[in-house]
Amino acid sequence: MADLTQAGAVARPLTRPRKRIRWNRIVDHAVLITGSLFMVFPVFMVLTTISFEDVDIVQKGLQIGLEGRMAENFHDAMFEASGFTKTITGTRMLMNSLILGFGFAIGKIVISMMAAYAIVYFRLRFATFAFWIIFTTLLLPLEVRILPSYEAIQSLGLANTYTGLIVPLIASATGTFFFRQFFRSIPEELVEAARIDGAGPVKFFIDILVPLSRTMIAAIFIIMFVYGWNQYLWPTLITTDEGMFTLVRGIKQIVQVLSQTGAKIPEYGKALALSMIAMIPPVLIVIFFQSWFVKGLTESDK
């Protein structure tokens, strides 16, 4: 599969009637600009609205323009403490989200690489069986089995811990599949050569397979990070300690408070600023590591 980063370099046929090309070009660009606006404009409008007073947002809704509240709303969203223990701040939630994102991505990669390695490179009688056991987990999304999962976490005493937050999310096969596919695409001669050189399975894994998988690891890391960061149903249930809230969970709470009985003037500015903060890290990662991200997403397509 061609690498997307080379898109601009794909050669175009040179001979076409001039007039046609112009019109086609204009249509192409018009479609792309419309599409880009469709994707970008909603978030842009949210951003400009953050600069307005809460009263204005309540009465007039989303706004375009620049007023003076931007810095203040972002500051409040980041640093204003709320909750009984005064531990819920944007910074704290940002940290928790980062821990969830990194913890989930790293945990998933480590565990699924190990499992995939065992399945692909060992003569194991039950390898196929193990594969199917792992594979079946694709059948049941977390939303559907959330209550018993919660009971399991509680019985283990893991509620309100990062372990309890992260580990159950790892219980699905996607990562294992990914690495299984990738390992199987690596030439078999490599193992043979390693064995002839006297390398054991551990040495082969660490010295050869892991370095070979570097790009793959980076690619899947990005996808898993975004997936972990964006979780919200599970964190909502499992974190009762205010200090454990993640950004996405915090936003759910804010949306709820906005529509609660007898609330004061709802703090829309702060809420919108917080939702902006919640999207910045994953968006930046996707934009800056675009080629890895695209690779990670499409690689299993082989």
């Binding site: 399945i119 049941l140 790892i170 949306v255 999207m279």
Partner: protein, 293 residues
């Protein structure tokens, strides 16, 4: 598996153990629990329970409302899948055709992938607000009395729009990468054979994209069925009322809001069967392609 492998026994077991343990505790046990409790009616606190056989299932299948939810889920899935695929395909074809600005377009069209569903839902809430949402006002200017939360069709429309918005990037990336993997020689040959760009697209490009499209079809169906949960929940503000909801959302509402564990579990089991069918279909039709998550 023909691969020449190592023969050590303890190592692969040790390597598999963490994954298998996590799956046993957080997947098989909960799944078994769901199957078991779908045959019981249980007191939420766990004090009493009555074995009712398949009554939870017959209640469900005899319930007109469950049928309506299933029908909406089907329509919703078709609409979300169709629009997000069609729009993404159009954009990918155009992004593949232009030279200047290609990179910028690509970035602008894919970054929404990273936005969390509840955040997308929140933005949707603002845009479709009953009093002052910009899109509400636009619809009203066209004479449609659009009311999120009060009117079934309005809420359904908002759900589809937000879900499509959130899903275009994934489809776009796959289509674009599919287009770019079409060999140069094929493109040039097509150019000679077929003068019209539209004809070229349907005769040559589209068939070459078909595997990607099939694969995306499954991904999008799964997305519409399960991953839009956060969008639905935010847009109905956790109060379904007379608004449309999807099957997964109903599992959540009955089990989580209503504490009807038996009924909710029976719905879970039905969904499991649905996913099973989809997965078998996916594996037979398009081997060795996987959806992450």
């Amino acid at each position: 598996m023909k691969r020449a492998g190592f023969t050590t026994v303890w190592l692969p077991i040790a390597l598999l153990l963490p994954q298998l343990m996590i799956i046993a505790i957080f997947f098989y046990w909960p799944a078994a629990w769901a199957v078991q409790s779908s045959f019981y009616l249980q007191d939420p606190f766990g004090f009493g329970s009555t074995f009712v056989g398949v009554e939870n299932y017959t209640d469900l299948l005899g319930n007109v409302e469950y049928g309506k939810v299933a029908r909406f889920t089907l329509i919703y899935t078709v609409l979300v899948t169709f629009f997000s695929l069609a729009l993404a395909l159009l954009l990918a074809v155009k992004a593949d055709a232009v030279i200047s600005g290609a990179k910028t377009y690509r970035t602008l069209l894919m970054w929404v992938y990273a936005i969390a569903p509840p955040v997308a839902g929140f933005i949707g809430l603002m845009f479709f607000d009953q009093r002052n949402g910009p899109l509400t006002q636009m619809f009203q200017a066209f004479g449609w009395d659009f009311r999120l939360g009060a009117d079934y069709t309005s809420t359904a429309t908002a759900m589809v729009v937000v879900a499509v918005w959130k899903q275009i990037p994934v489809n776009f990336i796959f289509f674009l990468s599919g287009l770019q993997s079409i060999p140069k020689s094929v493109r040039e040959a097509a150019l000679i054979d077929n003068r019209s760009a539209t004809g070229r697209f349907w005769d040559v490009t589209f068939p070459l994209l078909a595997p990607t499209a099939f694969f995306l079809l499954i991904i999008n169906i799964t997305y519409a069925l399960f991953d839009t949960f956060g969008i639905v929940d935010t847009l109905v503000r956790s109060e379904p009322g007379n608004n449309p909801v999807t099957l997964v959302y109903k599992v959540f509402v009955d089990g989580f809001r209503g504490n009807d564990l038996g009924g909710s579990s029976a719905q879970s089991v039905l969904l499991m069967l649905l996913v099973l069918v989809l997965t078998v279909f996916q594996f037979r039709l398009i081997e060795r392609r996987i959806h992450y998550t």
